[in-house]
Symmetry: C2
Subunit: 236 residues, 2 copies
């Protein structure tokens, strides 16, 4: 029985991974986890719920909102700090949108869960842009390091796989289209308002991914996006 | 301002570390964390509360009891599995008392907290016996690995220090006595009953530590211990 664990935020990348793994890998069981860590864009978890239906053996939401209570330095978990816009984060090695050690925390929980389930693989949603956008914990060095760490385990050496880590957002959107992802049920914007803002770093890179594929992102944005100007068509 | 984070379980090792760091290191602020992970011996947290008083700048209990709900393979978090006794764990590389990936989870949370606080050091309670007793996540290789991982951080390279990792339980009890630890307010037994059982691996190594120092452990045990036979005296 081949099992894996997929942390799914409800964002674009982890949703593409879930669909990609479900369609193209041969796991007998997929076990999904979402993290409620007090994030500003908590509504992403609703998208995760929509996405897992029919694809996973189990789905749990793990409440670790002590992160928002204890880790006060991040715009993502502290409502008093403004989310940094794209223009403010370029070249910043660790932006205010970084949640301290978040991915190590998430992956260490997923790893323990995988050990307990008898799963041998955990998927990690990092994409090429994450390392460039100020997140050390989205880099290839990070991935290598955490795999090396897990290999010290004396019995269950859980492998962390990150199938998107060398992919651009253009390639990720393309993969998502090929896997039949319903993009209306994904949430990317850091701000977590009614509509996606279209200007935060997460929105910017998502929009770029769609535009370079000449496809219209079916999500509603609070800014006007002239899709015709970019020759974009609806996803069929 | 020099700050550190100390995860304190209320057990012998972390209590000795807290007292040792408070007495012999020069941090301006110690920030302590306890983890409520649904452990069988949850009463240890009461000891942590007693120990931190007057020594720390802050103390928080972090509730991560999803561990006991999700990680079903460990005797420490699953009441349906018996705690393995000392005789059953000798030579076992990963015993049923192992909680999957627990120390990586704890330390990754402490590291994120340290980043957020502007602390540069996290203390880790592992002792020599932990690696021998079936815990890869108490070994020196584990410590080296997690420090290497943390060094990838682009801004705050949090150091994990484990001052007891090469010390025997005899040496740890001696250090605790030298630091004036109140051992009546420490809890070691895995079983978490009214009195310590005296036979689980945690009790066994604790008792050995006191006996080799020729001191009486002031904790109450449910088995009879003939301290006179070992020439043990009360700690003054």
């Amino acid at each position: 029985m081949k099992k894996c664990v997929i942390p799914i935020s409800g964002g674009l990348d982890s949703t593409v991974i879930l669909n990609h793994v479900h369609k193209n890998y041969d796991f007998d069981e997929i076990h999904a986890l979402s993290f409620d860590y007090g994030q500003r864009h908590k509504k992403e978890i609703n998208c995760a719920v929509d996405q897992v239906f029919g694809k996973v053996k189990s789905f749990k939401t793990v409440k670790i909102d002590f992160i928002s209570q204890l880790f006060s330095t991040s715009s993502i978990t502290n409502p008093d700090i403004d989310v940094a816009e794209t223009k403010d984060v370029l070249g910043d090695p660790q932006t205010v949108n970084y949640v301290p050690n978040r991915n190590t925390i998430f992956l260490s929980i997923c790893t323990g869960y995988a050990e307990s389930l008898g799963a041998d693989t955990v998927f990690h949603g990092s994409a090429l842009v994450d390392s460039e956008a100020g997140y050390w914990d989205g880099s290839k060095e990070f991935l290598t390091s955490i795999n090396k760490h897990n290999s010290l385990n004396r019995r269950d050496k859980i492998k962390i796989e990150a199938p998107l880590i060398e992919l651009s957002k253009k390639e990720i959107v393309k993969l998502g289209i090929d896997c039949g992802v319903d993009f209306t049920k994904t949430w990317t914007c850091y701000k977590g308002q009614d509509k996606a803002c279209g200007t935060c770093p997460a929105c910017s890179s998502r929009l770029q991914g769609f535009i370079l594929n000449k496809k219209i992102d079916p999500l509603e944005y609070s800014i006007n996006i002239d899709w015709n100007k970019f020759d974009c068509e609806p996803i069929i």
